[in-house]
């Protein structure tokens, strides 16, 4: 009996810090409608700042507790800086750019932490006065955990009092209810947004700081927590602080007891719980039902088929690529193969982002399923190379089918957050289930069979499959399938009253995109001869997104151009110690300064030339 009580209290204790962090995210979203991907970084910063301050101020009661609060305040200050310098530029931008911008910020800040604190793990000291343990019904539980059990409800209460009895709270509620109305009533939106963002950052910082005695600090804390925070906020209902509390407690209790039954798949349990909640209440436990989620009108651009000169150029390029083995060194073949694989991955993501209007932040899920599917088909099933590629594609398609069953009713930020969480959970499975996946050591020695093992042969097969995949995507976009998909994105209700099935259409697109991303992943496994969990990790998802935005969201050729530019950039930056900052910085530059991407910018610069040429002919 005592064991279960302690298990229950431990669950509540670990729910507190998760709740604080999620509450910050959900408050900021309620007012600014921005989902801040850098929120996990604020949590990590809170923990690292607290550690540094405790080291500086000493472990006396005043030094220790003072350090925790000061750390959270420092994070809040950083939040103000971020809001004023960066976020103010993107409040009016389409969702996908907002999400990508904060993602870029998270990468830059993560390298900042690495630069200041170094890669070594840190362990925080015990809090003065709460070092020991209490025995409950014969079982010991750390006193600090009991303290944390109280912190969650206390913060919930304080936030409730804040929202009912202070001017800031009333403004927050007014703005969350109806932003335009609040602005029309003379609420100073700039100051309100800054204040809310500071409060959100403070809560994340405090959430991180409170974990100091419980958790080893490491540089992946930001991404680990953000996936969990997304699950909590979506489950609780976007914008609902009590919902975040309820969801945090539910998830932590599920983990606390699930670990007794199924120690390896606690992450999967959390996701299944979320899926069950969303089936019953798509708006989350305590969320408000939103009206129909519509794509940003600025993103609804016509797609045009290739013009004859472009088609000619593309054919010429394909010819040059096909003949590459005749004149290029082996290293160029490998790099071009990498670009081709990445282009297929980015183009499959583009199908979701542009024609389907679904912001996917977890596309690595399908890339990774394809990569592991192919590797496992070889290692466990003894498959030959080509059937193994097919197995990878199939596994990814099945993954997309399952995810779609949960996510097809969602759109907008909910879909983005859930897709990220789905990929994060698969990553967790790949790391934890080491009998099958090899865990962090990965699966090694997966090479193509003899007739494909020459660099030129593998390059040829890669090019063939990638070009076929890209051609299929282009075909589909202009086929009835793609036309219906774009219609569903433009106006789901209109589409439904014309006999289309919006959910089914999006679901089908998800399966197609997943299958082709899976093929890309399977190809990469054989190209590298191995597969590691990082094929499923968040950075892989971001890379796809960066490639699409870098190339240009509004052209079908965008992801291919973006993939080439990105692989070359990374090939160069990988030699730098700060590649994350380089990649993140690129995202910031592209989303804030160059939202049309390379292709769009090129098209804009090219337009006067085309006009000149036409006039010259006359």
């Amino acid at each position: 009996m005592g064991f279960y009580l302690v298990q229950f209290l431990t669950g509540l204790a670990s729910a507190s810090s998760l709740f604080l962090t999620a509450a910050g995210l959900t408050l900021v979203f309620g007012v600014t409608r921005i989902v801040n991907f850098a929120h996990g970084t604020f949590y990590m910063l809170g923990a690292y700042f607290a550690w540094a301050l405790v080291m500086a101020l000493g472990t006396g009661p005043l030094g220790y507790w003072g350090a925790l609060v000061l750390a959270a305040l420092a994070v809040a200050l950083l939040g103000v800086l971020v809001e004023v310098v960066l976020l103010r530029r993107i409040y009016g931008a389409p969702e996908i750019f907002q999400l990508a911008t904060t993602f870029g910020l998270a990468l830059v800040l993560a390298d900042g932490v690495r630069f200041v604190f170094g890669p070594a793990d840190r362990l925080g000291p015990r809090p003065p006065g709460l070092e020991g343990a209490v025995v409950l019904l014969g079982e010991p539980i750390p006193t600090y955990d009991l303290f944390l059990v109280a912190v969650g409800p206390l913060v919930l209460l304080l936030l409730w009092l804040l929202s009912r009895h202070t001017r800031l709270g009333i403004l927050i509620r007014a703005a969350a209810e109806d932003r335009e109305m609040a602005a029309a009533l003379g609420v100073d939106e700039r100051r309100l947004f800054t204040a809310v963002f500071a409060l959100g950052a403070f809560l994340a910082g405090l959430g991180g700081a409170l974990q100091l005695p419980r958790e080893t600090l490491h540089l992946e804390m930001d991404l680990e927590v953000i996936a969990e925070v997304f699950v909590v906020t979506v489950m609780g209902g976007m914008g609902s602080v009590p919902g975040a509390f309820l969801a945090a407690v539910l998830i932590r209790e599920l983990e606390a007891f699930g670990i007794l039954l199924l120690p390896r798949i606690t992450l999967v349990l959390a996701f299944l719980l979320l899926a069950a909640v969303l089936v019953v209440r798509p708006q989350g436990l305590l969320g408000e039902r939103e009206g129909e989620v519509r794509a940003d009108p600025r993103l609804l651009r016509p797609l045009t088929p290739m013009t004859a000169p472009t088609r000619f150029l593309v054919l010429l390029l394909l010819l040059a690529l096909a003949l590459l083995p005749l004149y290029a060194p082996p290293y160029a073949l490998i790099l071009t193969g990498d670009i081709a694989v990445f282009a297929l991955y980015a183009a499959s993501l583009h199908l979701l982002l542009a024609p389907a209007g679904l912001v996917s932040f977890g596309h690595a899920a399908y890339f990774g399923l394809g990569a592991y599917g192919a590797a496992l088909a070889v290692q466990l099933g003894g498959f030959a190379t080509l059937p193994a590629l097919a197995a990878g594609l199939l596994l990814a398609a099945v993954g997309a089918l399952l995810f779609g069953a949960v996510a097809r009713r969602l759109a907008g930020v909910d879909f983005a957050m859930l897709s990220l969480a789905f990929a994060a959970i698969l990553w967790g499975v790949a790391v934890q289930w080491d009998e099958v996946t090899g865990g962090d050591d990965g699966l090694l020695g997966i090479w193509p069979e003899a007739w494909l093992s020459a660099p030129a042969a593998w390059y040829g097969l890669t090019l063939l499959l990638v070009v076929a995949g890209l051609a299929l995507l282009r075909l589909l976009v202009f086929a009835p399938f793609g036309l219906a998909l774009r219609a569903v994105r433009d106006h789901p209700r209109r589409a439904a009253t014309l006999g289309l099935h919006p959910e089914r259409q999006r679901w089908a697109a998800l399966v197609v995109a997943g299958a082709l991303a899976g093929l890309a992943g399977a190809l990469q496994t054989f190209a590298k001869g191995s597969v590691f969990p990082d094929v499923l990790a968040i950075p892989r998802s971001v890379e796809g997104l960066v490639a699409v935005l870098l190339g240009g969201l509004h052209q079908l050729g965008g992801p291919v151009v973006g993939a080439a530019a990105f692989v070359l950039l990374e090939d160069w930056a990988a030699r730098l110690p700060w590649w994350r900052a380089v990649v993140g910085g690129t995202v910031l530059v592209v989303t804030v300064l160059m939202p049309e991407g390379l292709m769009g910018t090129l098209a804009r610069l090219g337009r006067p030339l085309v006009r000149l040429a036409r006039e010259g002919r006359r």
Partner: protein, 261 residues
């Protein structure tokens, strides 16, 4: 002859508000009927219930011999009930021809087909529909660039693409210039007569209502308060009351309803 549409005690609440409260009426095949009433009377909710976008809390809807209560919008459409929206609902990124092509894909259930390229499908029928509403020259223009009135025309063509038996039109002429209104109404009447369609429409412009409706129904706060031929409705004291004492003669001058409420 059994009526084409039979509505019995239709009710829909939103929280404590009864948006539609025990509405019953029937509609005979070939009839053109107006549904009028002040803003918030429940007209749009009524349309949402009839077209399957919302589910009624109580009541029955029978259409063309089928019970369609609570069916999906897609099923209801297939039985021959098509609609337009008050704010014209079109696909802004697609050109006019593709907007209609989407409607035809919905009819032929080919929305997952990977082949042939969509632009090879049904061009003749699309041109025919665009000619019908006077938009044939603009077939390659993105729909997002159309003026408001033309969006209404395009939407009408999209609804007609399904060859419906009953058309629900939510303010077909709202936001149009006066001259444009009557041009569209005359076009509409010609199509309706040629195809033997049944029409139920809402409208704020009383000129339009009295010009084309054979019967007028008046809604107020979720209830039907009067049904009858236009002349009788014009004279009905309860109807005058619904319109806040403003006489329907004022309405007939083309003043928009919102101005006095």
């Amino acid at each position: 002859m059994t009526p084409l549409l039979q509505v019995e005690a239709l009710t829909r609440h939103y929280g404590g508000v009864r948006a539609v409260d025990g509405v019953s009426f029937t509609l005979a095949e070939g009839e053109v009927r107006a549904l009028i009433g002040p803003n918030g009377a429940g007209k749009s909710t009524c349309f949402a219930l009839l077209s399957g976008l919302e589910r009624p809390d109580r009541g029955r809807i029978r259409f063309a011999g089928h019970d369609i209560t609570g069916l999906s919008p897609q099923r209801i459409l297939r039985l021959g009930l098509a609609r337009t929206f008050q704010i014209p609902a079109i696909f802004p990124s697609l050109d006019l021809a593709d907007n209609l092509r989407v409607a035809l894909l919905g009819r032929t259930r080919r929305t997952l087909a990977p082949w042939p390229p969509a632009r090879r499908l049904a061009s003749a029928e699309i041109d025919e529909l665009l000619r019908l509403v006077g938009l044939a020259e603009r077939r390659h223009q993105p729909a997002g660039t159309l003026a408001y009135g033309d969006r209404k025309r395009l939407e009408l063509a999209m609804a007609l693409a399904h060859r419906p038996r009953l058309l629900l039109l939510d303010e077909p002429t709202a936001g149009m210039a006066l001259s444009e209104r009557f041009a569209l109404i005359d076009q509409l009447l010609a199509i309706v007569r040629a195809r033997g369609l049944t029409v139920l429409f809402t409208e704020h412009d009383m000129d339009v209502v009295f010009r084309i409706a054979e019967t007028v129904m008046v809604m107020d706060r979720g209830r039907l308060v009067a049904v009858g031929p236009p002349a009788a409705i014009r004279a009905d004291a309860r109807v005058r009351e619904v319109y806040l004492g403003g006489s329907l003669a004022d309405e007939a001058s083309g003043e928009p309803r919102e101005a006095s409420s």
